[in-house]
């Protein structure tokens, strides 16, 4: 009897303790700033590193320390991981993974080459990118293009388990990185341009079994929404909030995919992510607010239950795909410390919210070119509270089908796309890679066919008029005031994730292929080096043998590789071959290379 009881107690302890262990492996990895266990560097998504040996005073001396070719010539997004003395490098489709021995000149310890049906390439809307690996519990997690989520043994590359998250035959694909929280692996889905119904799914880290799935649209039960307890701008969400915002059963092919980044607050036990555009791009074919596309979602990580939602662009008319990362910072507002969430949306507004309650605190344009809405209504008593006040001239819904709405800023690329921003607690500023591109947009009628593009609009893009002629800016942003501190003009969109460090340096990459280092206070350029191909990856830093390294994956592509490779034009101005209008292909070619920098010995 005694023995039996003891056994029971031990069993209970194990079940309770296991999740905490999984959590610890990531938390410990984040604490050790010499390592990289998650793509945004930490759960808060600040992309800030405590490593400070490379400073604003010596960064000008950086040299290339070593390089590695990935063997794949497609767009390279994301960044490698570093655990112990091993670097884990991922590639675009076919999604190979290499484990490199940092103690032995990057010798390949193991490689993983998944077998995927190449048909999936044809249904990936915007290149075969992948935003990188995640680490937890001795495993490396990869979400393959064909939606297979695999757990690899960190020592051997052996597949511990794998699970299929979607069906490429329906246009469901994967480009996102998983997030490891407690005993779960969280992963989203891509395919908004194929009418895919978006969802966030949690799998058990131990065996890959599905723990919960929360759809972006549809019945409350399938969205894991409580009509009474889930809040929207301080009010209960109410019954059938999504179903009531679509015509008929359009929500079933209504998009709201979840291909962006996810962040996590351990104290509140909430995860944060965004949902994408509603399908199609023709707004007249889907009357209503199209909930909950274009929405910031806060959910309990254990159950998936929604705590609060905020829809940034109700009834999207411009493809302002709302998936960008939500960065979690604590800052003082009007004398009180607040737990904040800062989101740089595709639509050109930067939102500062209370991440516990979902209260909207600040919504300001982070590119002065933004013109589709005058402002976000901040009056709590107003009927349109929290909604953008749309300018009729730029409303593709009001102008209607078969009408070309011109001069809309930003373009469908958004003022910022997937490229993650950084935040430095030392300066209190956000560093944001942006696009400075406008568009003409003409919606028209389309028919849905499973696994086929479901777009429904023609658009042409061009550099923001009456500006510096370039297609990008790298800005420093004050999220409390809602103001740009400084802005560095770039010839092309800045499609690379930023990195801030305690050495008072901020790094970013450019589409021509430059890795650039600037002063975190002033934005002054301190160093640049042209890597072999355009950069759409995220700059990363790690420590090996007491030395700080900075690195980046080069390999132009992604959506940036579509329009920009050919050069953007303004239909109304014809082919003006000046400045920013020049084609990216004059500067760079396809590539797939890792370049790692260090200070000389």
């Amino acid at each position: 009897m005694r023995a039996k009881l003891l056994g029971l107690a031990a069993g209970l302890l194990t079940t309770v303790a296991a999740p905490a262990f999984a959590n610890d492996s990531v938390t410990e990895g984040i604490k050790n700033s010499g390592q990289l266990v998650t793509q945004l560097l930490n759960y808060a998504g600040t992309r800030y590193s405590e490593l400070g040996d490379i400073t604003k005073d010596n960064v000008g001396d950086l040299q290339v320390a070593w390089t590695f070719s990935t063997g794949v010539l497609r767009g390279h997004e994301g960044a490698p991981l570093v655990i112990g003395d091993v670097m884990y490098v991922h590639t675009p489709f076919p999604n190979n993974v290499y484990a490199l021995d940092l103690k032995n000149d990057g010798k390949i310890l193991w490689r993983y080459h998944p077998q995927q049906n190449s048909d999936v390439i044809g249904v990936m809307c915007c290149d075969t990118v992948n935003r990188g690996l995640a680490y937890g519990d001795g495993m490396i997690f990869l979400s393959q293009a064909d939606t297979t989520l695999v757990a690899l043994d960190e020592k051997t590359g052996e597949v511990k388990w794998s699970v299929v998250n979607g069906d490429p035959a329906k246009g469901e694909t994967s480009t996102a990185t998983p997030l490891i929280v407690k005993d779960k692996v969280l992963i989203g889905i891509s395919g908004g341009e194929y009418g895919v119904r978006g969802h966030m799914t949690a799998y058990n880290i131990a065996d890959g079994k599905m723990a919960w799935r929360a759809y972006s649209t549809g019945p409350d039960a399938e969205m894991l929404v409580d009509p009474e307890k889930t809040m929207v701008l301080g009010k209960p969400i109410g019954k059938d909030s999504s179903l009531n915002s679509w015509e008929g059963d359009q929500w079933q092919i209504g998009g709201g995919t979840t291909w962006g980044w996810t962040t996590y607050d351990p104290e509140l036990n909430l995860i944060y992510y965004g949902t994408g555009n509603p399908s199609t791009w023709n707004p007249s074919q889907r009357p209503g607010d199209n909930k909950w596309s274009m929405t910031i979602m806060a959910r309990d990580v254990d159950t998936g239950m929604a705590k609060w939602f905020y829809q940034k662009t109700p009834h999207d008319e411009w493809d302002y795909d709302g998936v960008n990362e939500n960065i979690l910072v604590d800052k003082e507002i009007d004398g009180t410390m607040r737990k904040l969430l800062v989101n740089f949306d595709r639509n050109g507004f930067a939102y500062t919210m209370d991440r516990e309650s979902g209260e909207l605190l600040v919504a300001e344009k982070y590119d002065p070119a933004v013109n589709w809405a005058t402002e976000v209504d901040m009056n709590k008593d107003s009927e349109t509270y929290g909604r953008p006040l749309v300018v009729a001239e730029y409303s593709t819904a009001q102008n209607g089908e078969d009408v070309n709405s011109t001069g809309i800023c930003p373009a469908a690329l958004g003022t910022k796309d997937q490229q993650p921003a950084a935040y430095s607690p030392k300066t209190g500023l956000f560093y944001v890679p942006t696009n400075h591109v406008c568009m003409d947009y003409e919606p028209f009628r389309v028919s849905y066919a499973a696994g086929q593009p479901y777009v429904g609009a023609t658009l042409s893009m061009f550099p923001a008029p009456e500006s510096h002629g370039g297609m990008g800016n790298f800005i420093a942003w004050d999220a409390v005031k809602g103001e740009i501190k400084w802005s560095l003009p770039e010839q092309f969109s800045v499609w690379s994730g930023a990195l801030a460090t305690s050495g008072d340096v901020v790094f970013y990459g450019t589409l021509e292929g430059y890795l650039k280092a600037v002063d975190s206070e002033t934005g002054k350029e301190l160093y640049k080096f042209k890597t072999p191909s355009g950069i759409i990856g995220n700059i990363f830093t790690y420590k090996s043998g007491d030395k700080q390294y900075v690195g980046v994956l080069s390999g132009v592509g992604g959506w940036a590789g579509i329009g920009l490779a050919a050069g953007l034009t303004n239909a109304t101005e014809g082919l003006g071959a000046v400045g920013g209008y020049a084609a990216l292909s004059d500067y760079t070619a396809l590539g797939g290379q890792l370049t790692v920098f260090a200070l000389p010995n």
Binding site: I121, P453, A457, A566, A571
Partner: protein, 168 residues
């Protein structure tokens, strides 16, 4: 060196020959919906003032919606898919239709190019002749990049054919 020269000359000759062959783009007949060349394959008709026939304008719209996410704006190509303004001139009309309907794969050590099959997609197939003539107009440079400034009105016959194809 001696052997190399003729080879090079041969290659140059071949390239020139391919370019020298004028694409058959002259509009000869019209069935009420669109123009055709002397081979009875669809073609564009651009008026002296730049006015584009409706199907070719429609091709611009549909191309920019369905094709440009891989093949780049206005048929210019991207970092991972070829410039279709060139392909549409090089390829036979029937081959072009076949590739769009059935897809094409070029997957190997250095290439990962997959063109999906659009055969079941009404948004592509109902407008494929339009897209074809638009791309040929781009290839021969009679239509510049960007949105065609002037276009012919949609004819009743075109509207009827479109409705029938898109299923009402």
């Amino acid at each position: 060196m001696k052997a190399g020269m003729p080879l090079l000359a041969f290659a140059t000759f071949f390239a020139n020959a391919a370019f020298a062959e004028e694409p058959n783009v002259e509009a000869v007949t019209n069935d009420g919906v669109r123009w055709f060349n002397s081979d009875d394959t669809p073609t564009y008709k651009i008026e002296a003032d730049g006015t584009v026939d409706w199907p070719t304008f429609s091709g611009y719209r549909r191309y920019q919606a369905e094709c440009h996410v891989c093949h780049g704006p206005e048929g210019e190509g991207s970092t991972y898919a070829p410039a279709l303004k060139a392909s549409a001139l090089r390829m036979d009309y029937y081959d072009f239709i076949g590739v769009v309907a059935s897809g094409r794969k070029n997957v190997g050590a250095a290439d990962n190019q997959v063109m999906p099959a659009f055969g079941t997609n009404p948004n592509v197939m109902c407008y494929l002749d339009d897209i074809y003539t638009y791309l040929r107009a781009r290839g021969t440079d009679v239509v510049p990049r960007g949105r065609p400034a002037k276009k012919e009105a949609k004819s009743d016959a075109y509207a009827e054919a479109e409705k029938a194809c898109m299923g009402g």
